[in-house]
Subunit: 363 residues, 2 copies
Amino acid sequence: MLEHYYAVIMAGGGGTRLWPLSRRARPKQMLRLIDHRSLFQTSVERLNGVFPLERILVVTVKDQALELQEQCPAIPVENFIIEPSPRGTASVVGLAAVALKARDPEAVMAILTSDHFIGNEPGFRDLLKIAHNVAQDNYLVTIGIQPNYPATGYGYIQKGDSLGVYSGIEVGKVLRFKEKPDEAHAREMFSAGDHTWNSGMFFWRVDNIFAEFKRQMPDLANKLEEIAAAWHTKQRIKVIQRIWPTLKQETIDYGVMEGARNVAVIPAAQLQWSDVGTWDSLFDVLPSDDSGNIVMGGRHLAVDTRESLVYVNQEHRLIVTIGVEDLVVVDTGDVLLVCRKDQAQKVRNVVDALKKTDGTTYV
Amino acid sequence: MLEHYYAVIMAGGGGTRLWPLSRRARPKQMLRLIDHRSLFQTSVERLNGVFPLERILVVTVKDQALELQEQCPAIPVENFIIEPSPRGTASVVGLAAVALKARDPEAVMAILTSDHFIGNEPGFRDLLKIAHNVAQDNYLVTIGIQPNYPATGYGYIQKGDSLGVYSGIEVGKVLRFKEKPDEAHAREMFSAGDHTWNSGMFFWRVDNIFAEFKRQMPDLANKLEEIAAAWHTKQRIKVIQRIWPTLKQETIDYGVMEGARNVAVIPAAQLQWSDVGTWDSLFDVLPSDDSGNIVMGGRHLAVDTRESLVYVNQEHRLIVTIGVEDLVVVDTGDVLLVCRKDQAQKVRNVVDALKKTDGTTYV
């Protein structure tokens, strides 16, 4: 195991991108989508061999903490850090950095996601080790996923000069972050060859991220110092509760990475990575049958059905599909979604509309 | 009202063509599809003004009789005739003819369906009157529906020489019956202009149909006479029960109409007729919204959804469709059907397959 190396799993998201299966109270990371394990459990288990369990921190919200602890009881309970309310990933990273600095001033943090899929786990573990080495050289490190199509759903990272070869992989300086682009820009970046997808994973020494906070988000830096001062006291929770609502809502990408110096990107070619961000994306992640269909739950009788996904949460329900192609059918009992695969991203609009008309009933 | 004129509604069918909504125990004629009334109730009510209720007979099977009586309590209970088991429409017509002859030897029978849709009810009543007049001229009378596309799902009737003009409509001699054709023949007959669809409705004097039975189905004729001899005795039911299983399984089309002399066809141009034989056909029958969608039951949230039908039997279920077109979604609780509109006829194959694998569970 690499010394001073800590994983921080961000698991507080309340996404509804796999709605109607994922809900506010049952976000994507808790779903047992891929196999009998949830995406959160998988995210923890694939760290095996790089991070001992006592060096895995989980940042989440109060409502989800208990369920996550039950899913991974081997992680020490004091490693679960509660963010009082969602204030963006900059605050999450800051809070985790305070916790780690209090524990180990030489800590190197790996900020990891809890709801992504990674098919090649040994390859991922190799990258984690490389990222540690690059972070020890005082870079803020990102992992860039090799794009296989001009996605508009991901942010992009443009790679500049080489920073050297680490364990056979050439690490580059980051020239530019580009948030989710429109189609024309996506095609441009895809064909340019020097752009990778932003995986949302970050690696750095705690002292380096504190320095960047101080430079770019001085208000956050000051407030984090206030929290740090109370960390080993009985006032810790009170201070967090008081300060948290005054923090600016900001992502780590906008707040720090875009303006940071010394940002490095490690290209990841063969991770089989997916953010499992839409129903559509499950086709990259789950095995399908000879007709390209994915069936989860229920009993499926397929007639001339191709490249379609059927999810049902009632084992005895019979689903018959006839003459359909590229369709997603998701039945959660209260809601039935029938969606063309290439329009799965519109689920988000439906959730937004339902929030307005029905409050929390269906979301 | 026309004297000696009787309606015989065939209501014993156990079709599953609108499966999973229609089942063996809840066939199409019992479904309240079009409005709050079932197709059977509609079939009775549209006779109003032509047949008094006491001259409407209903032939059905034992399992369905009670439900049909409850749906139309104004029809005298003795007008419900039970066929002991399905033996084809020739036997049904024969049994009804026996019942009518015993009641009125001069009876003219109108054999009508119980599960079809007719939009133009006044036009239909006009046709019923014309059909009576043609039947009184000793023809076996059919109604031919003007085809509006080269259907392969209907039988065809080829019209020959004119038999005269009845109330402004030229009635033709029938040259030929052609059962459900393949696509090439359907196109041929459609463009020929002298073919109409066989509506499955027939009109004749009882003496004329008995004469045809005697000539073409002498075994049936003899057995019907045996039943007729027992009609006004206490033995009636016993005799029917004994004879019925010995009758040849035969349709009136094959058994009588194809070989009959003096068959007439009344062309019906504007009936807005549909046999409601597939989910697809509901688009000809039910009103749709601006996007061409039909929603029955449940709550439907449509995003980029066109020309689709959604049926749900749970009022509070939310159905979301995104980016779908020409799709049929039917949810009956135990079964969810998702079917491309133009493949709705394949529902039949699914039902056949399910019978083999699951017995009566889903059908």
